[in-house]
Protein backbone atom coordinates (compact mmCIF):
# COMPACT_ATOMS: atom_id res chain seq x y z
CA UNK A 1 0.00 0.00 0.00
CA UNK A 2 1.47 3.33 -1.00
CA UNK A 3 0.83 6.94 -0.16
CA UNK A 4 -1.53 7.87 -3.04
CA UNK A 5 -3.61 4.76 -2.37
CA UNK A 6 -3.89 5.61 1.32
CA UNK A 7 -4.79 9.17 0.51
CA UNK A 8 -7.54 8.10 -1.90
CA UNK A 9 -8.93 5.67 0.65
CA UNK A 10 -9.22 8.41 3.28
CA UNK A 11 -10.76 10.86 0.80
CA UNK A 12 -13.33 8.29 -0.36
CA UNK A 13 -14.10 7.50 3.24
CA UNK A 14 -14.54 11.17 4.14
CA UNK A 15 -16.87 11.80 1.20
CA UNK A 16 -19.03 8.83 2.18
CA UNK A 17 -19.07 10.00 5.78
CA UNK A 18 -19.99 13.56 4.76
CA UNK A 19 -22.90 12.19 2.69
CA UNK A 20 -24.02 10.11 5.66
CA UNK A 21 -23.84 13.17 7.91
CA UNK A 22 -26.02 15.16 5.52
CA UNK A 23 -28.49 12.30 5.40
CA UNK A 24 -28.58 12.12 9.19
CA UNK A 25 -28.99 15.89 9.38
CA UNK A 26 -32.08 15.66 7.13
CA UNK A 27 -33.42 12.69 9.11
CA UNK A 28 -32.86 14.54 12.40
CA UNK A 29 -34.94 17.48 11.13
CA UNK A 30 -37.74 15.16 10.02
CA UNK A 31 -37.87 13.07 13.20
CA UNK A 32 -39.70 14.38 16.24
CA UNK A 33 -42.88 14.05 18.29
CA UNK A 34 -44.98 15.76 15.58
CA UNK A 35 -44.83 13.80 12.32
CA UNK A 36 -44.04 16.13 9.41
CA UNK A 37 -43.67 14.65 5.92
CA UNK A 38 -40.48 15.55 4.01
CA UNK A 39 -42.34 17.57 1.38
CA UNK A 40 -44.00 19.72 4.05
CA UNK A 41 -40.70 20.15 5.84
CA UNK A 42 -39.05 21.33 2.64
CA UNK A 43 -41.83 23.86 2.02
CA UNK A 44 -41.39 25.06 5.60
CA UNK A 45 -37.69 25.56 4.98
CA UNK A 46 -38.31 27.71 1.93
CA UNK A 47 -41.04 29.60 3.78
CA UNK A 48 -44.13 28.28 2.03
CA UNK A 49 -45.84 26.65 5.02
CA UNK A 50 -48.09 27.99 7.81
CA UNK A 51 -46.24 29.47 10.73
CA UNK A 52 -46.78 26.67 13.25
CA UNK A 53 -45.09 24.05 11.00
CA UNK A 54 -42.36 26.47 10.02
CA UNK A 55 -41.87 27.23 13.70
CA UNK A 56 -41.24 23.54 14.48
CA UNK A 57 -38.88 23.04 11.53
CA UNK A 58 -37.00 26.33 11.23
CA UNK A 59 -37.39 27.56 14.79
CA UNK A 60 -36.70 24.35 16.68
CA UNK A 61 -35.61 21.22 14.82
CA UNK A 62 -33.12 22.74 12.38
CA UNK A 63 -31.20 24.71 15.04
CA UNK A 64 -31.24 21.64 17.31
CA UNK A 65 -29.78 19.48 14.54
CA UNK A 66 -27.19 22.16 13.79
CA UNK A 67 -26.22 22.25 17.48
CA UNK A 68 -25.93 18.44 17.53
CA UNK A 69 -23.61 18.57 14.52
CA UNK A 70 -21.42 21.34 15.98
CA UNK A 71 -21.22 19.81 19.47
CA UNK A 72 -20.35 16.42 17.94
CA UNK A 73 -17.48 17.99 16.00
CA UNK A 74 -16.23 20.05 18.99
CA UNK A 75 -16.17 17.26 21.53
CA UNK A 76 -14.67 14.71 19.12
CA UNK A 77 -11.87 17.01 18.03
CA UNK A 78 -10.96 17.98 21.58
CA UNK A 79 -11.17 14.31 22.60
CA UNK A 80 -8.66 13.34 19.90
CA UNK A 81 -6.36 16.21 20.85
CA UNK A 82 -6.45 15.24 24.53
CA UNK A 83 -5.82 11.56 23.79
CA UNK A 84 -2.64 12.45 21.95
CA UNK A 85 -1.61 15.26 24.28
CA UNK A 86 -1.90 13.09 27.40
CA UNK A 87 -0.82 9.96 25.46
CA UNK A 88 -3.84 8.28 26.94
CA UNK A 89 -6.41 6.37 24.89
CA UNK A 90 -9.12 7.11 27.45
CA UNK A 91 -8.63 10.86 27.68
CA UNK A 92 -11.55 13.09 26.75
CA UNK A 93 -13.08 16.30 28.11
CA UNK A 94 -15.60 14.42 30.25
CA UNK A 95 -13.28 11.80 31.77
CA UNK A 96 -10.44 14.24 32.49
CA UNK A 97 -12.79 16.51 34.43
CA UNK A 98 -12.58 19.37 31.93
CA UNK A 99 -16.37 19.29 31.45
CA UNK A 100 -16.81 19.43 35.23
CA UNK A 101 -14.51 22.43 35.29
CA UNK A 102 -16.74 24.06 32.69
CA UNK A 103 -19.70 23.16 34.92
CA UNK A 104 -18.03 24.84 37.87
CA UNK A 105 -17.51 27.94 35.75
CA UNK A 106 -21.20 28.03 34.88
CA UNK A 107 -22.20 27.31 38.50
CA UNK A 108 -20.11 30.22 39.70
CA UNK A 109 -21.76 32.42 37.10
CA UNK A 110 -25.34 31.34 37.77
CA UNK A 111 -25.30 30.79 41.53
CA UNK A 112 -22.35 32.92 42.53
CA UNK A 113 -24.17 35.91 41.14
CA UNK A 114 -26.79 35.64 43.88
CA UNK A 115 -24.12 35.08 46.55
CA UNK A 116 -21.91 37.99 45.70
CA UNK A 117 -24.68 40.12 44.29
CA UNK A 118 -23.61 43.71 44.22
CA UNK A 119 -19.90 43.20 44.98
CA UNK A 120 -17.35 43.76 42.20
CA UNK A 121 -16.94 39.95 41.95
CA UNK A 122 -20.66 39.60 41.29
CA UNK A 123 -20.55 42.31 38.65
CA UNK A 124 -17.59 40.59 36.99
CA UNK A 125 -19.41 37.24 36.97
CA UNK A 126 -22.58 38.78 35.57
CA UNK A 127 -20.55 40.34 32.81
CA UNK A 128 -19.20 37.00 31.70
CA UNK A 129 -21.35 34.92 29.41
CA UNK A 130 -21.96 31.22 29.91
CA UNK A 131 -19.35 30.44 27.28
CA UNK A 132 -16.65 32.56 28.88
CA UNK A 133 -17.41 31.15 32.33
CA UNK A 134 -17.36 27.57 31.06
CA UNK A 135 -14.12 28.14 29.12
CA UNK A 136 -12.48 29.67 32.19
CA UNK A 137 -13.50 26.70 34.34
CA UNK A 138 -12.40 24.22 31.67
CA UNK A 139 -9.06 26.02 31.30
CA UNK A 140 -8.47 25.91 35.07
CA UNK A 141 -8.90 22.12 35.16
CA UNK A 142 -6.84 21.68 31.99
CA UNK A 143 -3.95 23.71 33.40
CA UNK A 144 -3.91 21.69 36.63
CA UNK A 145 -4.08 18.45 34.63
CA UNK A 146 -1.17 19.48 32.41
CA UNK A 147 0.96 20.66 35.33
CA UNK A 148 0.46 17.50 37.36
CA UNK A 149 0.36 14.95 34.54
CA UNK A 150 3.82 16.05 33.40
CA UNK A 151 5.10 14.41 36.61
CA UNK A 152 3.02 11.25 36.22
CA UNK A 153 4.40 8.38 34.15
CA UNK A 154 1.47 6.02 34.53
CA UNK A 155 -1.48 6.63 32.21
CA UNK A 156 -3.91 5.25 34.77
CA UNK A 157 -2.70 7.82 37.31
CA UNK A 158 -3.62 10.57 34.84
CA UNK A 159 -7.15 9.21 34.57
CA UNK A 160 -7.49 8.96 38.34
CA UNK A 161 -6.28 12.55 38.60
CA UNK A 162 -8.96 13.59 36.09
CA UNK A 163 -11.66 11.82 38.08
CA UNK A 164 -10.40 13.49 41.29
CA UNK A 165 -10.43 16.96 39.73
CA UNK A 166 -13.92 16.30 38.34
CA UNK A 167 -15.09 15.27 41.82
CA UNK A 168 -13.49 18.33 43.37
CA UNK A 169 -15.33 20.55 40.88
CA UNK A 170 -18.59 18.73 41.66
CA UNK A 171 -18.02 19.17 45.41
CA UNK A 172 -17.50 22.89 44.94
CA UNK A 173 -20.68 23.02 42.86
CA UNK A 174 -22.59 21.23 45.66
CA UNK A 175 -21.34 23.77 48.17
CA UNK A 176 -22.50 26.58 45.90
CA UNK A 177 -25.88 24.91 45.47
CA UNK A 178 -26.30 24.66 49.23
CA UNK A 179 -25.83 28.37 49.69
CA UNK A 180 -27.58 29.70 46.61
CA UNK A 181 -31.14 30.97 46.22
CA UNK A 182 -33.91 28.86 44.77
CA UNK A 183 -34.23 30.62 41.42
CA UNK A 184 -30.50 30.48 40.72
CA UNK A 185 -30.37 26.85 41.85
CA UNK A 186 -33.18 25.96 39.49
CA UNK A 187 -31.59 27.61 36.48
CA UNK A 188 -28.31 25.81 37.23
CA UNK A 189 -30.00 22.40 37.59
CA UNK A 190 -31.78 22.98 34.29
CA UNK A 191 -28.43 23.71 32.66
CA UNK A 192 -26.88 20.46 33.98
CA UNK A 193 -29.64 18.44 32.38
CA UNK A 194 -28.29 19.71 29.15
CA UNK A 195 -30.01 19.49 25.86
CA UNK A 196 -29.38 20.53 22.33
CA UNK A 197 -32.69 22.36 21.95
CA UNK A 198 -32.25 25.23 24.41
CA UNK A 199 -29.71 27.17 22.39
CA UNK A 200 -30.61 30.69 21.23
CA UNK A 201 -29.73 31.81 17.72
CA UNK A 202 -27.03 34.12 19.10
CA UNK A 203 -25.54 31.18 21.01
CA UNK A 204 -25.75 29.03 17.88
CA UNK A 205 -23.68 31.62 16.04
CA UNK A 206 -21.04 31.61 18.81
CA UNK A 207 -20.99 27.81 18.83
CA UNK A 208 -20.65 27.72 15.05
CA UNK A 209 -17.82 30.25 15.00
CA UNK A 210 -15.91 28.55 17.83
CA UNK A 211 -16.33 25.09 16.29
CA UNK A 212 -15.15 26.34 12.92
CA UNK A 213 -12.16 28.19 14.37
CA UNK A 214 -11.28 25.34 16.75
CA UNK A 215 -11.46 22.73 13.99
CA UNK A 216 -9.28 24.84 11.72
CA UNK A 217 -6.70 25.30 14.51
CA UNK A 218 -6.83 21.57 15.21
CA UNK A 219 -6.06 20.80 11.56
CA UNK A 220 -3.15 23.23 11.74
CA UNK A 221 -1.79 21.25 14.68
CA UNK A 222 -1.94 17.84 12.95
CA UNK A 223 1.84 17.71 12.48
CA UNK A 224 2.44 18.60 16.13
CA UNK A 225 0.03 15.88 17.25
CA UNK A 226 1.87 13.34 15.10
CA UNK A 227 5.17 14.36 16.68
CA UNK A 228 3.72 14.20 20.22
CA UNK A 229 2.57 10.60 19.65
CA UNK A 230 6.12 9.44 20.36
CA UNK A 231 6.35 11.37 23.60
CA UNK A 232 7.48 14.81 24.61
CA UNK A 233 11.21 14.08 24.55
CA UNK A 234 11.09 12.72 21.05
CA UNK A 235 9.05 15.69 19.84
CA UNK A 236 11.70 18.00 21.29
CA UNK A 237 14.49 16.01 19.64
CA UNK A 238 12.97 16.66 16.21
CA UNK A 239 12.90 20.38 16.88
CA UNK A 240 9.55 21.12 18.50
CA UNK A 241 9.20 23.74 21.21
CA UNK A 242 6.85 21.45 23.05
CA UNK A 243 5.71 23.85 25.79
CA UNK A 244 4.49 26.40 23.28
CA UNK A 245 2.79 23.83 21.05
CA UNK A 246 1.11 22.16 23.97
CA UNK A 247 -0.31 25.45 25.23
CA UNK A 248 -1.75 26.06 21.76
CA UNK A 249 -3.34 22.59 21.74
CA UNK A 250 -4.66 23.08 25.23
CA UNK A 251 -6.27 26.40 24.31
CA UNK A 252 -7.97 24.88 21.27
CA UNK A 253 -9.30 21.88 23.19
CA UNK A 254 -10.49 24.10 26.06
CA UNK A 255 -12.24 26.52 23.76
CA UNK A 256 -14.07 23.70 21.97
CA UNK A 257 -15.08 21.86 25.14
CA UNK A 258 -15.96 24.99 27.11
CA UNK A 259 -18.28 26.43 24.48
CA UNK A 260 -20.05 23.15 23.72
CA UNK A 261 -20.54 22.49 27.44
CA UNK A 262 -21.71 26.04 28.16
CA UNK A 263 -24.65 25.79 25.76
CA UNK A 264 -25.59 22.13 26.00
CA UNK A 265 -24.49 21.01 29.45
CA UNK A 266 -21.94 18.24 30.04
CA UNK A 267 -22.15 15.63 27.24
CA UNK A 268 -20.20 12.47 28.00
CA UNK A 269 -18.28 9.83 26.06
CA UNK A 270 -18.58 11.31 22.56
CA UNK A 271 -15.08 12.77 22.85
CA UNK A 272 -13.46 9.51 23.92
CA UNK A 273 -15.40 7.20 21.61
CA UNK A 274 -15.35 8.82 18.15
CA UNK A 275 -11.54 9.06 17.76
CA UNK A 276 -11.33 5.32 18.44
CA UNK A 277 -14.05 4.54 15.92
CA UNK A 278 -12.09 6.64 13.40
CA UNK A 279 -8.89 4.70 14.18
CA UNK A 280 -10.65 1.36 13.91
CA UNK A 281 -12.27 2.26 10.58
CA UNK A 282 -9.21 3.84 8.96
CA UNK A 283 -6.46 1.71 10.53
CA UNK A 284 -4.34 4.86 10.59
CA UNK A 285 -2.60 6.80 13.36
CA UNK A 286 -1.72 9.88 11.25
CA UNK A 287 -3.64 12.90 12.58
CA UNK A 288 -3.81 14.44 9.12
CA UNK A 289 -6.20 11.59 8.30
CA UNK A 290 -7.70 11.08 11.76
CA UNK A 291 -8.75 14.68 12.41
CA UNK A 292 -11.14 15.21 9.46
CA UNK A 293 -12.63 11.73 9.79
CA UNK A 294 -13.09 12.19 13.56
CA UNK A 295 -14.87 15.50 12.93
CA UNK A 296 -17.30 13.94 10.45
CA UNK A 297 -17.86 10.91 12.66
CA UNK A 298 -18.52 13.15 15.67
CA UNK A 299 -21.14 15.07 13.72
CA UNK A 300 -22.81 11.87 12.45
CA UNK A 301 -22.81 10.15 15.85
CA UNK A 302 -24.19 13.19 17.63
CA UNK A 303 -27.02 13.56 15.08
CA UNK A 304 -27.81 9.89 15.61
CA UNK A 305 -27.83 10.39 19.39
CA UNK A 306 -30.16 13.38 18.98
CA UNK A 307 -32.57 11.27 16.94
CA UNK A 308 -32.53 8.49 19.52
CA UNK A 309 -33.05 10.98 22.35
CA UNK A 310 -36.10 12.42 20.58
CA UNK A 311 -37.75 8.99 21.06
CA UNK A 312 -39.84 9.10 17.88
CA UNK A 313 -43.41 8.07 18.64
CA UNK A 314 -43.33 9.24 22.25
CA UNK A 315 -44.30 12.58 23.71
CA UNK A 316 -41.20 12.93 25.91
CA UNK A 317 -37.50 12.78 25.09
CA UNK A 318 -34.39 11.41 26.81
CA UNK A 319 -31.59 13.69 28.10
CA UNK A 320 -28.84 13.76 25.45
CA UNK A 321 -26.15 12.81 27.97
CA UNK A 322 -27.96 9.52 28.69
CA UNK A 323 -27.93 8.54 25.03
CA UNK A 324 -24.29 9.50 24.42
CA UNK A 325 -23.22 7.58 27.55
CA UNK A 326 -25.11 4.44 26.56
CA UNK A 327 -23.55 4.56 23.07
CA UNK A 328 -20.07 5.62 24.18
CA UNK A 329 -19.44 3.43 27.21
CA UNK A 330 -19.37 0.11 25.28
CA UNK A 331 -16.69 1.61 23.02
CA UNK A 332 -14.64 2.72 26.04
CA UNK A 333 -14.87 -0.80 27.49
CA UNK A 334 -13.79 -2.25 24.14
CA UNK A 335 -10.75 0.06 24.11
CA UNK A 336 -9.76 -0.99 27.64
CA UNK A 337 -10.04 -4.68 26.72
CA UNK A 338 -7.97 -4.25 23.55
CA UNK A 339 -5.29 -2.33 25.46
CA UNK A 340 -5.07 -5.10 28.04
CA UNK A 341 -4.54 -7.61 25.27
CA UNK A 342 -1.87 -5.50 23.56
CA UNK A 343 0.00 -4.75 26.81
Amino acid sequence: MHAPQRHNKVVAFSVALAALTLLLLAADVLIGSAPIPPATAWRALVGAEPSHVSHIIVGYRLPKAAVALLVGVSLSVSGLQMQTMFRNPLADPYILGVSSGAGLGVALLVMGRSLWGATPVGALLAGMGYAAAACAGAAAVMLIMLAISARLRDIMAVLILGVMLGSAASALISALQYFSREAALKSYVLWTMGGLGNVTSAQLCVLGAVTLAGSALALLSAKTLNALMQGERYARSIGYRVGRRRLFLMLTATMLTGTATAFCGPVGFIGVATPHVARMLLREADHRYLLPVTMLLGAAVMLLCDMISALPGYETSLPINTVTSLLGIPIVILVIMRNQKAG
Partner: protein
Protein backbone atom coordinates in the same frame (compact mmCIF):
# COMPACT_ATOMS: atom_id res chain seq x y z
CA UNK B 1 42.22 11.85 16.21
CA UNK B 2 41.66 15.08 18.10
CA UNK B 3 43.22 18.22 16.69
CA UNK B 4 43.16 17.17 13.04
CA UNK B 5 39.52 18.12 12.51
CA UNK B 6 36.68 19.68 14.50
CA UNK B 7 35.23 16.89 16.66
CA UNK B 8 31.55 16.10 16.13
CA UNK B 9 31.00 16.29 19.88
CA UNK B 10 33.25 18.03 22.39
CA UNK B 11 32.34 18.18 26.06
CA UNK B 12 34.23 20.77 28.06
CA UNK B 13 34.19 20.57 31.88
CA UNK B 14 30.58 19.45 31.55
CA UNK B 15 28.49 19.22 34.70
CA UNK B 16 25.27 17.26 34.32
CA UNK B 17 22.37 17.04 36.73
CA UNK B 18 19.09 18.58 37.69
CA UNK B 19 18.17 21.91 39.21
CA UNK B 20 15.64 21.09 41.90
CA UNK B 21 13.80 24.27 43.00
CA UNK B 22 16.80 26.25 41.92
CA UNK B 23 19.23 24.05 43.88
CA UNK B 24 21.53 22.22 41.46
CA UNK B 25 21.97 18.51 42.11
CA UNK B 26 24.99 17.31 40.21
CA UNK B 27 24.84 13.68 39.11
CA UNK B 28 28.47 13.41 37.98
CA UNK B 29 31.58 15.54 38.52
CA UNK B 30 32.79 17.77 35.66
CA UNK B 31 34.69 16.09 32.82
CA UNK B 32 35.71 16.61 29.20
CA UNK B 33 35.41 14.25 26.24
CA UNK B 34 35.28 14.20 22.46
CA UNK B 35 33.76 12.08 19.70
CA UNK B 36 34.90 12.33 16.10
CA UNK B 37 32.80 11.98 12.97
CA UNK B 38 32.49 8.39 11.66
CA UNK B 39 33.34 7.11 15.14
CA UNK B 40 31.28 4.62 17.17
CA UNK B 41 31.46 5.57 20.85
CA UNK B 42 30.15 3.27 23.59
CA UNK B 43 29.20 4.85 26.92
CA UNK B 44 29.67 2.39 29.79
CA UNK B 45 28.95 2.63 33.49
CA UNK B 46 26.89 1.01 36.22
CA UNK B 47 23.22 1.89 36.76
CA UNK B 48 22.41 5.27 38.28
CA UNK B 49 25.64 7.04 37.34
CA UNK B 50 23.88 9.41 34.97
CA UNK B 51 24.51 7.94 31.52
CA UNK B 52 21.03 8.87 30.30
CA UNK B 53 21.35 12.31 31.88
CA UNK B 54 24.64 12.82 30.03
CA UNK B 55 23.13 11.76 26.69
CA UNK B 56 20.14 14.06 27.18
CA UNK B 57 22.45 16.93 28.07
CA UNK B 58 24.56 16.34 24.93
CA UNK B 59 21.53 16.69 22.67
CA UNK B 60 20.03 19.65 24.53
CA UNK B 61 17.01 17.91 26.04
CA UNK B 62 18.10 19.11 29.45
CA UNK B 63 20.37 22.03 30.33
CA UNK B 64 23.88 21.45 31.63
CA UNK B 65 24.59 22.69 35.17
CA UNK B 66 27.92 24.02 33.95
CA UNK B 67 30.58 23.66 31.31
CA UNK B 68 29.88 23.49 27.62
CA UNK B 69 28.73 21.08 24.91
CA UNK B 70 30.17 21.80 21.46
CA UNK B 71 28.56 20.18 18.43
CA UNK B 72 30.62 20.52 15.24
CA UNK B 73 32.67 23.19 16.96
CA UNK B 74 29.76 25.41 17.95
CA UNK B 75 28.16 25.70 21.38
CA UNK B 76 24.92 23.76 21.77
CA UNK B 77 23.25 26.90 23.07
CA UNK B 78 23.93 28.72 19.80
CA UNK B 79 21.65 26.38 17.85
CA UNK B 80 17.91 26.92 17.44
CA UNK B 81 15.73 23.87 18.23
CA UNK B 82 15.18 23.31 14.53
CA UNK B 83 18.86 23.66 13.61
CA UNK B 84 19.71 21.26 16.42
CA UNK B 85 17.20 18.74 15.05
CA UNK B 86 19.10 18.64 11.76
CA UNK B 87 22.39 18.12 13.62
CA UNK B 88 21.67 15.42 16.16
CA UNK B 89 19.06 12.67 16.34
CA UNK B 90 18.07 10.72 19.43
CA UNK B 91 16.86 7.20 20.12
CA UNK B 92 15.51 6.90 23.64
CA UNK B 93 14.59 3.89 25.74
CA UNK B 94 10.92 4.92 25.61
CA UNK B 95 8.91 2.34 23.78
CA UNK B 96 5.76 4.21 22.85
CA UNK B 97 3.23 1.88 21.32
CA UNK B 98 0.65 3.60 19.16
CA UNK B 99 -1.98 1.44 17.50
CA UNK B 100 -2.30 1.47 13.70
CA UNK B 101 0.96 3.40 13.23
CA UNK B 102 2.72 2.18 10.08
CA UNK B 103 6.49 1.56 10.16
CA UNK B 104 6.82 4.02 7.27
CA UNK B 105 4.98 6.73 9.26
CA UNK B 106 7.11 6.09 12.35
CA UNK B 107 10.33 6.50 10.35
CA UNK B 108 8.99 9.55 8.49
CA UNK B 109 8.73 11.41 11.82
CA UNK B 110 12.50 11.77 11.36
CA UNK B 111 11.81 13.98 8.34
CA UNK B 112 9.76 16.48 10.39
CA UNK B 113 12.53 19.07 10.74
CA UNK B 114 12.51 19.30 6.92
CA UNK B 115 8.78 19.34 6.12
CA UNK B 116 6.27 22.20 6.11
CA UNK B 117 3.53 23.09 8.58
CA UNK B 118 1.31 20.15 7.58
CA UNK B 119 4.14 17.63 7.51
CA UNK B 120 3.63 16.71 3.86
CA UNK B 121 6.48 14.48 2.65
CA UNK B 122 8.15 15.37 -0.64
CA UNK B 123 9.33 12.73 -3.08
CA UNK B 124 12.83 13.15 -1.67
CA UNK B 125 11.55 12.73 1.91
CA UNK B 126 9.92 9.44 0.92
CA UNK B 127 13.12 8.26 -0.72
CA UNK B 128 15.13 9.12 2.40
CA UNK B 129 12.64 7.18 4.55
CA UNK B 130 12.81 4.09 2.32
CA UNK B 131 16.61 4.31 2.05
CA UNK B 132 16.87 4.55 5.85
CA UNK B 133 14.69 1.48 6.22
CA UNK B 134 16.85 -0.31 3.63
CA UNK B 135 20.03 0.58 5.57
CA UNK B 136 18.70 -1.26 8.63
CA UNK B 137 17.29 -4.11 6.53
CA UNK B 138 13.64 -3.30 7.24
CA UNK B 139 12.42 -2.00 3.86
CA UNK B 140 10.15 -5.02 3.40
CA UNK B 141 8.31 -4.11 6.59
CA UNK B 142 7.44 -0.50 5.66
CA UNK B 143 3.67 -1.00 5.67
CA UNK B 144 3.41 -3.18 8.75
CA UNK B 145 1.84 -1.94 11.99
CA UNK B 146 4.72 -0.69 14.14
CA UNK B 147 3.04 -1.97 17.31
CA UNK B 148 3.37 -5.56 16.00
CA UNK B 149 7.15 -5.52 15.52
CA UNK B 150 9.44 -7.70 17.63
CA UNK B 151 11.86 -5.87 19.96
CA UNK B 152 14.77 -6.42 17.58
CA UNK B 153 12.80 -5.18 14.56
CA UNK B 154 11.53 -2.19 16.52
CA UNK B 155 15.06 -1.19 17.50
CA UNK B 156 16.12 -1.30 13.84
CA UNK B 157 13.12 0.83 12.88
CA UNK B 158 13.84 3.54 15.45
CA UNK B 159 17.48 3.55 14.27
CA UNK B 160 16.10 4.06 10.74
CA UNK B 161 14.04 6.94 12.11
CA UNK B 162 17.23 8.55 13.41
CA UNK B 163 18.91 7.94 10.01
CA UNK B 164 15.96 9.57 8.23
CA UNK B 165 16.59 12.68 10.32
CA UNK B 166 19.83 12.89 8.34
CA UNK B 167 22.02 14.20 11.16
CA UNK B 168 25.81 13.99 11.41
CA UNK B 169 25.43 12.90 15.06
CA UNK B 170 23.24 10.07 16.40
CA UNK B 171 22.78 9.50 20.13
CA UNK B 172 21.17 6.29 21.40
CA UNK B 173 20.19 5.44 24.97
CA UNK B 174 20.67 1.71 25.61
CA UNK B 175 19.73 0.47 22.15
CA UNK B 176 20.59 -3.12 23.12
CA UNK B 177 18.36 -3.31 26.19
CA UNK B 178 15.52 -5.86 25.96
CA UNK B 179 17.19 -7.63 23.00
CA UNK B 180 18.32 -11.24 22.77
CA UNK B 181 22.04 -11.98 22.39
CA UNK B 182 22.23 -12.23 18.56
CA UNK B 183 20.19 -9.04 18.22
CA UNK B 184 22.52 -7.20 20.63
CA UNK B 185 25.48 -7.99 18.40
CA UNK B 186 23.47 -7.24 15.26
CA UNK B 187 22.40 -3.81 16.51
CA UNK B 188 25.90 -2.75 17.59
CA UNK B 189 27.39 -4.07 14.33
CA UNK B 190 24.73 -2.09 12.47
CA UNK B 191 25.70 1.05 14.39
CA UNK B 192 29.37 0.39 13.56
CA UNK B 193 28.56 0.03 9.86
CA UNK B 194 26.43 3.20 9.88
CA UNK B 195 29.19 5.17 11.61
CA UNK B 196 31.73 4.02 9.01
CA UNK B 197 29.70 4.04 5.81
CA UNK B 198 27.52 7.05 6.54
CA UNK B 199 30.35 9.02 8.23
CA UNK B 200 28.27 9.79 11.31
CA UNK B 201 29.33 10.14 14.93
CA UNK B 202 27.33 7.53 16.85
CA UNK B 203 27.27 7.58 20.65
CA UNK B 204 25.36 4.85 22.50
CA UNK B 205 25.08 3.83 26.12
CA UNK B 206 25.05 0.16 26.95
CA UNK B 207 25.55 -2.46 29.65
CA UNK B 208 26.95 -4.99 27.17
CA UNK B 209 30.58 -4.36 28.01
CA UNK B 210 31.88 -7.36 26.08
CA UNK B 211 30.10 -6.38 22.86
CA UNK B 212 31.08 -2.72 23.21
CA UNK B 213 34.77 -3.56 23.72
CA UNK B 214 34.80 -5.82 20.65
CA UNK B 215 33.06 -3.43 18.27
CA UNK B 216 33.25 0.23 19.40
CA UNK B 217 36.01 2.54 18.13
CA UNK B 218 36.12 4.46 21.36
CA UNK B 219 34.74 3.99 24.85
CA UNK B 220 33.53 6.50 27.43
CA UNK B 221 33.49 5.06 30.95
CA UNK B 222 31.79 6.59 33.98
CA UNK B 223 33.04 5.02 37.20
CA UNK B 224 33.46 6.21 40.81
CA UNK B 225 33.22 9.88 39.88
CA UNK B 226 35.94 9.48 37.25
CA UNK B 227 35.49 9.74 33.50
CA UNK B 228 37.73 7.75 31.14
CA UNK B 229 37.93 7.97 27.39
CA UNK B 230 39.99 5.91 24.96
CA UNK B 231 40.10 2.97 22.61
CA UNK B 232 38.94 -0.36 24.12
CA UNK B 233 42.55 -1.67 24.14
CA UNK B 234 43.96 1.42 25.79
CA UNK B 235 41.34 1.38 28.54
CA UNK B 236 41.79 -2.38 29.06
CA UNK B 237 45.50 -1.91 29.56
CA UNK B 238 44.90 1.01 31.90
CA UNK B 239 42.81 -1.34 34.13
CA UNK B 240 39.76 0.92 33.84
CA UNK B 241 37.32 -2.00 33.64
CA UNK B 242 38.80 -3.57 36.77
CA UNK B 243 37.60 -0.43 38.55
CA UNK B 244 34.14 -0.77 37.00
CA UNK B 245 33.93 -4.39 38.16
CA UNK B 246 35.44 -3.69 41.59
CA UNK B 247 33.61 -5.46 44.47
CA UNK B 248 32.01 -7.93 42.08
CA UNK B 249 32.94 -11.50 41.31
CA UNK B 250 33.59 -10.53 37.72
CA UNK B 251 36.81 -9.65 35.97
CA UNK B 252 37.66 -8.61 32.44
CA UNK B 253 40.27 -10.35 30.29
CA UNK B 254 42.84 -7.70 29.37
CA UNK B 255 43.51 -9.16 25.93
CA UNK B 256 40.04 -10.10 24.67
CA UNK B 257 37.80 -7.79 26.70
CA UNK B 258 35.75 -10.85 27.64
CA UNK B 259 34.05 -10.75 31.07
CA UNK B 260 34.60 -13.85 33.21
CA UNK B 261 33.57 -15.06 36.67
CA UNK B 262 36.32 -15.19 39.29
CA UNK B 263 36.41 -18.41 41.33
CA UNK B 264 33.96 -21.27 41.35
CA UNK B 265 30.42 -20.86 40.07
CA UNK B 266 27.77 -21.60 42.70
Amino acid sequence: MAGEATPAIALHELRTGYANRGVPREVFPPFSATAAGAELVALLGRNGLGKSTLLRTIIGLQPALGGEVYLLGKSLRAYSPRALATLVSYVSTDNVKVGNLKVFDLVSLGRYPYTGWFGTLSQRDREVVMRSLALVGMEAHAWRDAACLSDGERQRVVIARALAQDTPIIVLDEPTAFLDLPNRYEVVLLLKRLAQEQRRAVVFSTHDMGIALKIADSVWVMCDGEFYQGSPQALLHANVFDKVLKNTRLAVDHDTGEVRIVGAVG
